[in-house]
């Protein structure tokens, strides 16, 4: 901000100071969780009195943390299915919207994005009421259906941006050369929109892994989900294993972020 005169210094400094505090607020808690997960203390004291790996050993112990392992397995399985379903639904919708300039396409896009602003807790309760009205007991499939409704808008955003950049002339050339619509999709369209599809699948996966409002109402003893189990541990005992589990999740998020950013420019897509 050097191009501004001396009278602007106080405001420029204030902006810089607030930005610095903002960065600290964003990153600080993540680092604090990581450090806490190595504490020797039974309590969540900060700074930790000493460092140890015992909470990670506890967390990975198959006998002592069996319930956490079951919940983590369920969460990963539901997230994988949700990502596949959301990506397929969003890719179709994104191609349809990008091929049309009609009003219906703009309206449909608005409708497809609606789950983003609807309070999750209201939708979670609605799914519970709907499935119990249909006499469907809580199940893996219903969790996937509920998660997918919330996750699809995230996938649609990145896939839609990729599909909007498709050159219609390429599709026409492919058709004129005798390719079937399916072949055109597989050989021309999909390779071109692949970065958007991969980013979208990743965001849908993360959205499902992180989902609380739907799991809160639809998970049961057999389909316990990781965020709900961790919430229970936080409410009751403040078990330090929550810190170790958080440490694992932070490390995985960071690794995936680096990999996805290298592969498909994820960070740029999320700010674009």
């Amino acid at each position: 901000m050097s191009r501004f005169a001396a009278r602007d210094k106080p405001l420029a400094l204030l902006i810089l100071a607030l930005a610095a505090i903002g960065l600290l607020i964003l990153i600080g808690p993540v680092l604090i969780v990581l450090l806490t997960s190595f504490t020797t203390s039974q309590a969540l004291r900060f700074p930790p009195p000493g460092l140890t790996l015992r909470w990670y050993a506890d967390l990975f112990d198959p006998a002592r943390s069996a319930q956490i392992h079951v919940a983590a397995g369920n969460s990963l399985a539901v997230a994988a299915c949700t990502a596949a379903l959301s990506t397929a639904l969003a890719t179709g919708a994104a191609l349809a919207i990008s091929r049309s300039r009609a009003t219906w396409a703009r309206m449909a896009e608005g409708g497809f994005m609606a789950p983003l602003v609807l309070p999750g807790i209201a939708y979670g309760l609605a799914t519970l009421m709907f499935f119990s009205w249909l006499r469907q007991p809580p199940s893996f499939g219903l969790l996937v259906a509920g998660h997918a409704m919330i996750a699809t808008p995230f996938a649609l955003r990145t896939i839609g941006a990729s599909a909007a950049g498709l050159d219609p002339a390429l599709l026409e050339s492919s058709a004129i050369l005798g390719a079937s619509p399916w072949r055109t999709f597989r050989r021309v369209v999909l390779p071109l929109i692949m970065p958007g599809v991969a980013a979208g699948a990743f965001l849908a996966f993360v959205s499902s892994l992180d989902n609380v409002p739907v799991s809160l109402f639809l998970s049961s003893a057999e389909t316990d989900m990781l965020p709900i189990r961790m919430w229970g541990m936080m409410e009751t005992s403040l078990d330090v294993r929550v810190a170790a589990a958080s440490g694992v999740l932070v490390a995985v998020a960071f690794l995936l972020l680096v990999v996805m950013d290298r592969a498909v420019g994820l960070v740029r897509r999320m700010a674009g």
Partner: protein, 276 residues
């Protein structure tokens, strides 16, 4: 893939949303107008209970207030960060973007847990205050509204920061130089050049933060607002503990209506500003 047949590709998502998104919400509305979850008898009892009871009215106000204060708190830090991103070099730009995206990819439960460690009796803030002698006893931060707003500021900030960065990224830096060389102060440049361009991102961010903060069940229940009750925890209690489904449905719809009203108001502001 002909132009005319392309709309069929949107059918699977449209049908899925109709079946698994719209139908549950319609059933939610129907349940709020019944005496119980079997939907045999119509009744306005649940709505009388929500709108006529001062405890429930207060919970609605608490929730709206929490959403509004979180929006303001995220703005306070996200606007300077987005401005810094606009003028920063590539390395700093990257750090700011990573700082915005990483929390978004870490579970809300993890971010909420971090704030327990920060706000607790032996947490980061209290041990700093005690060791510097600023206080003689730990001050309560968990189970207070300021503590919850502070936590939500971090938890929701990426939702404000990313749209703001996207909006400000469309500003031509030459515009800022032009404004400065014409003698405008930094404040005037921000107000007359940057703010109008930032407005769409700001309003989109405000809508997302408000919607997310007012429905943040885990943060609200674990970090808590002390004696303040918020709608999401009332919805959960009525649905899963008391099993009064019509009341739970009416409370959930009240939350939904509040969030949608705020989203509509913000989008009206955006449309009005676009015409000026």
């Amino acid at each position: 893939m002909s132009e005319r047949g392309a709309w069929r590709l949107a059918l699977p998502l449209a049908l899925a949303q109709l079946l698994f998104f719209l139908s549950p919400l319609l059933l939610l509305a129907a349940t709020s107008l019944a005496t119980d979850e079997n939907l045999d008898t119509a009744s306005l009892a649940a709505w009388r209970d929500v709108l006529g009871d001062s405890f429930h009215r207060q919970a609605v106000l608490n929730t709206l207030r929490l959403g509004a204060l979180t929006v303001l708190a995220t703005l306070l830090f996200a606007v300077p960060l987005a401005l810094l991103h606009m003028v920063a070099g590539p390395a700093l730009k990257r750090i700011i973007l990573l700082a915005a995206v990483l929390p978004l990819l870490t579970s809300v439960v993890v971010r909420t847990f971090a704030w327990i460690v920060i706000l607790g009796r032996e947490g980061v803030i209290n041990s700093t205050l005690l060791s510097t002698g600023l206080t003689s006893a730990p001050i309560p931060l968990l189970q207070t509204e300021p503590g919850l707003i502070l936590a939500l500021t971090q938890i929701e900030m990426p939702l404000m920061l990313l749209p703001l960065i996207a909006s400000l990224g469309r500003i031509d830096p030459a515009l800022l130089d032009a404004s400065a060389s014409l003698g405008a102060s930094l404040f005037r440049t921000l107000r007359r050049v940057v703010l109008p361009m930032a407005l769409p991102g700001l309003l989109a961010g405000a809508t997302l933060v408000f919607a997310s903060a007012s429905t943040a069940f885990i943060s609200q229940s674990v970090i808590g607002g002390g004696r303040l009750a918020y709608l999401p925890s009332l919805v959960w209690q009525q649905a899963m503990v008391v099993f009064n489904w019509p009341l739970a449905a009416a409370l959930a719809l009240t939350l939904m209506a509040s969030v949608l009203a705020v989203a509509a108001a913000l989008s009206a502001v955006g449309r009005k500003a676009a015409h000026v």
